[in-house]
């Protein structure tokens, strides 16, 4: 088994979703390093943990995901961000990608869909 090469930070205001993403990860290249409940916490955790991958919810208190994506990418342009959101309209997805996200996965998701999206993220 290969050693993890990617450090994953999970950002979502739902504890159920944060834990689910952590549990569902089947990719040995990815190591879960931490979780944040909103955009502000995510910025703090990024500075502390130096993740290389982020999953990002959009609708969150304190600082929403779209603003956080823009700030994280400004700070670290190599960071790969998978937006995982229930907001299913095209404009939302396009906006997230324009702000610097690398991919978009719509909630609800299965474990398989999550792993496929994460695999695409690290293969790009």
């Amino acid at each position: 088994m290969s050693a993890p090469r990617h450090r994953l930070l999970v950002v979502d205001d739902s504890n159920v979703i944060r834990r689910r993403i952590e549990r569902a990860n089947e990719l040995p290249q990815i190591e879960f390093v931490g979780a944040a409940r909103n955009g502000l916490e995510a910025l703090e955790m990024h500075a502390l943990l130096h993740p290389t991958l982020v999953t990002m919810d959009l609708t969150m208190p304190a600082m929403d995901g779209a603003e956080c994506v823009a700030k994280l990418v400004q700070r670290d342009p190599r960071l790969r961000i998978l937006v995982i959101s229930a907001l299913a309209d095209k404009l939302t997805a396009i906006d997230a990608l324009e702000k610097g996200a690398s991919g978009f996965l719509c909630k609800p998701f299965s474990d398989r869909q999550l792993n496929d999206a994460m695999r695409k993220l690290i293969d790009t």
Partner: protein, 149 residues
């Protein structure tokens, strides 16, 4: 968009949620207008406030037993009150958020709020009656309540 089409958007969202998130399909009963202005609520109710082009709310209400089994299906071991509340809110959030595919970008949704007092009514818009979509999953019964101006 007709009322029938709008309700269909939420019914499709419910069916997709259960078949995807817990990998076990649900069935929706006949959607109906609430007989009184305050439909019965179950143990846990997650509420999403809707603003923008439409105003009102989307709420998911379910018994503790149902939410516990759903968490188990997600391999979750933490069955605390906080996690059960969290799941009810997350389901409401997902169903309201998915509706934007049809309602558009201007269908703006809040973060989930838990409604903990079953006896008190949800904050429905004064000019609308709540629409109730019954949800049957395994032997459990939940409801999606949609009330939009």
């Amino acid at each position: 968009m007709s009322l029938e089409t709008e309700i269909g958007v939420f019914v499709d969202g419910v069916l997709n949620y259960f078949s995807t998130a817990v990998q076990q399909g649900a069935q929706c009963g006949t959607p109906h207008l609430a007989l009184n202005d305050n439909p019965d609520l179950a143990d846990y109710t997650g509420v999403i406030q809707v603003s923008g082009k439409r105003t009102g709310l989307v709420a998911f209400t379910a018994p503790k037993s149902m939410l516990s089994v759903m968490l188990m299906r997600m391999q979750e071991t933490d069955m605390s009150h906080e996690n059960l509340s969290d799941l009810a809110g997350e389901i409401a959030n997902t169903l309201a958020g998915n509706a934007r595919r049809e309602f558009g970008h201007q269908f703006q949704i809040s973060v989930p709020v838990m409604h903990s007092d079953r006896a008190s009514p949800l904050p429905y818009p004064a000019t609308s009656r709540p629409m109730v979509i019954p949800i049957d999953w395994r032997n459990y019964h939940a409801r999606l309540i949609v009330c939009l101006d």
